[in-house]
Structures are given as C-alpha cells and as structure tokens.
C-alpha cells in the first residue's frame, strides 16, 4: 500500500473549523460535504439555487469565472454560506512544457484563501504553447516526458497553494502512437509521485473507451482506490464518423445510461466519493439538474456505507 494512502480520511460530519471573524466573507462553517452528490453551479441557476437551497451535498465552480468581482462573486458568497465548495480549474495547463503561469496561480490562490474549498482541481491536459492559450483541454502522449512534465507542474501548483490538488482524466479524441503507458497508469503515477489525488471523470473514461476502443471497466479496476478524491458525471454527444461510433464530451444533456452503469461500478470500488454533475451547455432547470444529483446519491446510498471519503488536502 502506498504511503500516501493515509491521504484519504473518512469524514461523516462537518469539520466545523474555527474561522477568523472579519469581513463577512469568512462565515463559511461548512468546509466538507456530508452528502456525496454535488452540482456544477452555473450563473443561470444562481438565483434559483440560493432561493430554494436544494438538498445537495456541495457545489463546484470554475475559478476562472470568479477572478473579478461583481455579481458572480456575490452569488458565490451567498451559495458558499450554505454549501461546501470545490474549485475546478480549466486554465492551469498542467501538461504544458512551460511552467504554470504564476499570475494565474496567484488569482486562483486568492479564491482558495477566501472560499476555503474542500477540493481544488484541474486536468491532465494542456492548453498553453508559447503565447497561444488554446482554451481547450488538449491531449498528451502518455510518455515518461509527459509524466515528468505533469509532475513538475503539479508540484509547482501544490507548493504555491500549500495544499494537494486533484487532477482529472480528460476526454480525448486522438491517441498518440508513442504512448508508453495507459492513461490509468499515468494517473496512478501522478498520485504516487506528487501526492495529488485523482478526480475521476466517469464520463470521460466512457467517452475515451469508445473513441479509442478500450475496456472502461478495466480502466476503473486499475485506478488506485485511495487516490480518488472526487468523481465527475456529465452528458456526451454521440456521432457517427465513417460508420464508427464516436463520442464528444459536450456536457449538454442528461448522463447516459452506460455512464450510470460505469458509475455504479466505480462506486462499488471507490466507495462514497464526492461526485459532481457537470452541465455547461443547453442548461436544464435546476430541478432536472438536482434529479441527476439525486440519482448519483441513490447509487452511493445503495452500494456504500455512505461514509464520505474526502481527500486530505494537507
């Protein structure tokens, strides 16, 4: 067993940390979730969410949308008063050969200091090359050089934040000829070498298993159990290209049946892990989104002891 396995702690009640009195933004006593299911909170749902305070374990937002002030911050402050928070970044470009942008890290850290998220994450992908920021989660060859690059940037990020982060497996649409390891081997190695946790996106595994023709269940069976600090679920779009079934990770619809099946398999292996429903385009009503979160929660309730595992960020 890895010495990092003690990174996983079981948490069945809020931590209730003492917080400095102050500017009113620090009254966030709900540091950790009790229920496993969370939702990605989007601007269109702010008002509904704060007015109705639905029964969901926690919320997740993209920090890049909160680097300024104004209404987004206002609503996040309101939501954070009642819900634990996960900050899920899309802009660190952990897979770039250049180091992580210190200005981006600084803005991100300001949010971490204010909102005290229980999880902080980004992706095993890249978007920056020289001056170009390609605002997409671009694929990496799974080689020793890529592993070293990711580890260097994860170390830099964790040192800057003074805490561990989670790294998410991406959806990819192309595979590299020089791959020297599988993606799950890469993800496990990141955990072993840097202490980062894995944010396991179940939909991304499924999407890739179709696009690159591998066994999604085998992938899950080979992920280090203690490394998984969060899971993601989302909808994808199915296409037919030259008679081949091809999937795109669009986050614009309900989670598909096959992905729910794979999630159940993951829950049996990893236990009760915070799980976020991501929906970014063609947004449904908050009620429908909550329905997806309830569905994920019921799978956890059925197959686990419901003691929620929270990755130790220290």
């Amino acid at each position: 067993m890895s010495e990092l396995s003690q990174n996983i702690k079981t948490q069945s009640h809020p931590a209730g940390l003492d917080r400095p009195a102050g500017n009113g933004q620090k009254n966030f006593d709900k540091t950790h979730p009790i229920l496993s299911s969370g939702i990605g909170l989007r601007a269109e749902h702010y008002k509904d969410f704060i007015d109705t305070k639905p029964s969901v374990g926690w919320i997740e937002v993209h920090p890049e949308n909160y680097f300024g002030g104004g209404l987004h911050r206002h609503y996040l402050n309101e939501a954070r008063k009642d819900y634990p928070l996960s900050l899920h970044a899309v802009g660190l470009s952990l897979g770039s050969t250049d180091p992580v942008d210190e200005k981006h890290l600084q803005k991100f850290k300001e949010l971490i200091d204010i909102y005290e998220p229980f999880n902080v994450s980004d992706h095993a992908s890249w978007s920056v090359s020289g001056n170009a920021h390609l605002n997409d989660l671009l694929p990496l060859p799974y080689t020793q050089e890529t592993l070293d690059t990711l580890c260097r940037n994860i170390d830099q990020t964790q040192d800057f934040f003074g805490r561990k982060i989670l790294v998410e497996n991406p959806s990819t649409y192309i595979a590299f000829a020089e791959n020297a390891m599988t993606e799950y081997e890469l993800m496990n190695a990141l955990h072993d070498k840097t202490g980062c946790g894995i944010l396991l996106d179940i939909n991304n595994i499924y999407v890739q298993s179709v696009n690159h023709k591998f066994d999604a269940w085998h992938y899950i069976d080979n992920i280090t159990v203690d490394a998984v600090g969060e899971m993601h679920l989302a909808g994808h779009t199915e296409k037919d290209i030259n008679g081949e079934r091809f999937l795109i990770d669009t986050h614009n619809q309900f989670v598909r049946g096959d992905v729910w099946g794979l999630y159940e398999h993951a829950v049996r292996r990893f236990g009760a892990v915070p799980t976020c429903i991501e929906w970014d385009l063609d947004l449904p009503s908050l009620n429908d989104l909550m329905g997806e979160a309830d569905k994920a929660q019921s799978i956890v309730n059925e197959h686990t002891d419901q003691n929620l595992k929270v990755y130790n960020a220290a």
């Binding site: 989007r42 601007a43 269109e44 702010y46 993209h62 890049e64 949308n65 680097f67 300024g68 002030g69 104004g70 209404l71 987004h72 206002h74 899309v90 802009g91 660190l92 470009s93 770039s96 050969t97 942008d101 978007s127 920056v128 090359s129 020289g130 001056n131 170009a132 920021h133 390609l134 605002n135 997409d136 989660l137 671009l138 694929p139 990496l140 060859p141 050089e145 890529t146 690059t149 649409y173 192309i174 595979a175 590299f176 000829a177 020089e178 690159h212 779009t237 290209i241 030259n242 081949e244 091809f246 795109i248 990770d249 986050h251 614009n252 991501e278 970014d280 385009l281 063609d282 947004l283």
Partner: protein
C-alpha cells in the same frame, strides 16, 4: 518528437484554419491511425477552440447581436478569431481588440457606429467583472477643507469606461434596449472550454438594465454622443455624458486635479457647472478614492 515540439506543431495546426490539411507525415505519424482519419480527430479540437472564441465574443456583445443579428455577429467573430486566438487563460478578457477589428472590417463599413457600440459592450463586460473595490463615501470628503478641493486628484472606480463617439450612441443604445423589452436580469453566462463545442447551442445571454419607453429611433444627424459605463455596487449602468462633463471626467481619470480639470473645461464651456457635475458623479459612484495634491 519532444513534447515541446509536439505542442508547438499541434498549436500551429489548430491555429491555422486555412491549412487544415497541413499535417505532414512527421506530424501525422505522432498519432494512432485507424478508421477515423487523423484530420477528422484533430478538427474536433480545432472546432472546439474556435467555437469557444466565437461563444465568448457573442456572449460579450449583446448590443452588437441586437443590432446586426446572430449570423453577422458570428461571421465577424469567426473572421476575428482566425487571426486572434486567446493569449490568456482568462476568457473574459478575450476580444479586447474586437472593436478595433470591427472598425476596419470592410463588410461592416456601412454601419460606422458598430465600433462604438462594440466598445460599450466591452465596457459593460469590463464593469461586470471588475474587482470589488468600495465606492468613495462622499462623507469622507467632509474632512477636506473647501479651499483644498481644487487640489484633489480623484481615483476612478476600476469598473469605469468612457466611450466617446461621432455618432448618437446613447440614442442607439436606448433604442436597442427598447426593442429588447422586458429585460430583468444582469447575469452573464459563463463560457468554459468544457462547454463550447457547438456554437449554435449558446445559451441566451446578458441583458442590460434600464426600462425604457417611448424612445424614438436614433436620429443619425444629431452628432456625436458620449457614454460612461460603470458598476454601481452590483449593477452595471450606462449613462450619457454631455461633452463638458465628459471632458471633465476624462481629465480627472488622467490624474489632473479638480482645479486643472475644471479650468480646462471652462475654457471651452463657460457654462460648465463644476459643483453640480461633481456632486452628480459622486452620487453615481464613479469614484473610489481621492488624494490631496499640493
């Protein structure tokens, strides 16, 4: 291929829409080749990158969208993105130079005020996302001796943008709002790389404040108008400014003292009412601070 070279080549491929088939054997050899062509797979990424850019521009320019329609705005956005991919991971800042692009964009030459309306959209977006800096409390000026007012240098709130135009942009702005009707939200949607594979599937976005009624169509012969955009607490607001007030505030922004700024304006506009303008702008929450300069 070293990772750095691979990322450079990948990046170049995505950036260059015109050379979609430019992958040479060395580049194509980096990928697994199967029933789905490498080019088709790479183009999924290219489409993702460009559609995010287009989504951001369309999201950030609701006034332009109302003026020229979805199709023409998307056309301008795509033409802009071809030579202006993002240079930062902070997508709210993408397209700062989109108004300048529109200024020179020949198919839009018949609508010369688009440049200024695009700048109002940009100013609105800037105000919306500006840092949460407290507004200047007028009470804090009570400690300043009236004899020293002329030596005050004012700090503009970080949300403020001034737009000066040769066209009646305030009338055009009000006319757009009137035709929208019934808008009641200030919320802007978020655009993230996760959410932008399909530019046709954009959520409805951004509305302006102000309920307007009985606004006549703009009279294009009435000369230029100026506006200021700022965020007053949580609300983004757009105001018209007469030329004298506009020049006074721009001088204050450029770190002139109140005495210097009002002197310059009064030389051109003898009727300029300093006390009324200053009180009005204080109330509007345009300032965030001051310093005494003598």
């Amino acid at each position: 291929m070293r990772l750095k070279d691979l990322q450079n080549r990948f990046s170049d491929y995505i950036a260059d829409l015109k050379l979609q088939n430019s992958g040479d054997d060395e580049f194509n050899g980096q990928f697994v080749n199967d029933a789905i062509p490498i080019e088709t797979r790479l183009n999924i990424y290219q489409d993702g990158v460009y559609s995010t850019c287009v989504s951001v521009l369309m999201n950030n320019h609701p006034l332009l969208k109302d003026l020229v329609g979805d199709d023409f705005l998307r056309y301008m956005a795509i033409e802009f993105a071809k030579n202006n991919l993002p240079t930062s991971g902070y997508l709210n800042e993408y397209g700062l130079n989109f108004p300048d692009f529109i200024y020179k964009f020949k198919p839009a030459a018949g609508l010369p005020y688009l440049y200024d309306i695009a700048r109002i959209d940009r100013g609105w977006n800037h105000a919306y996302h500006a840092d949460d800096v407290p507004h200047l409390d007028p009470q804090s000026l009570h400690d300043v001796s009236p004899a020293d007012y002329a030596f005050l240098k004012m700090t503009m709130h970080p949300s403020v943008t001034f737009v000066k135009s040769d066209y009646p942009i305030w009338q055009i702005y009000q006319y757009i709002l009137k035709n929208r009707g019934g808008d009641d939200t200030q919320l802007r949607s978020e655009i993230t790389p996760n959410a932008a594979k399909d530019p046709d599937a954009l959520p409805e976005k951004a509305e302006e404040q102000d309920n307007t009624s009985d606004i006549p169509p703009p009279d294009m012969n009435t000369g230029g108008e100026n506006v200021v955009i700022l965020r007053d607490n949580l609300m983004v607001k757009v105001y018209p400014l007469d030329e004298d007030n506009f020049q006074f505030l721009v001088n204050l922004r450029d770190k002139k003292t109140i005495g210097e700024a009002s002197g310059k304006v009064m030389a051109k506009f003898p009727a300029f009412n300093l006390a009324k303008t200053f009180r009005g702008e204080l109330k509007r929450n345009i300032f965030s601070g001051f310093q005494l300069s003598k």
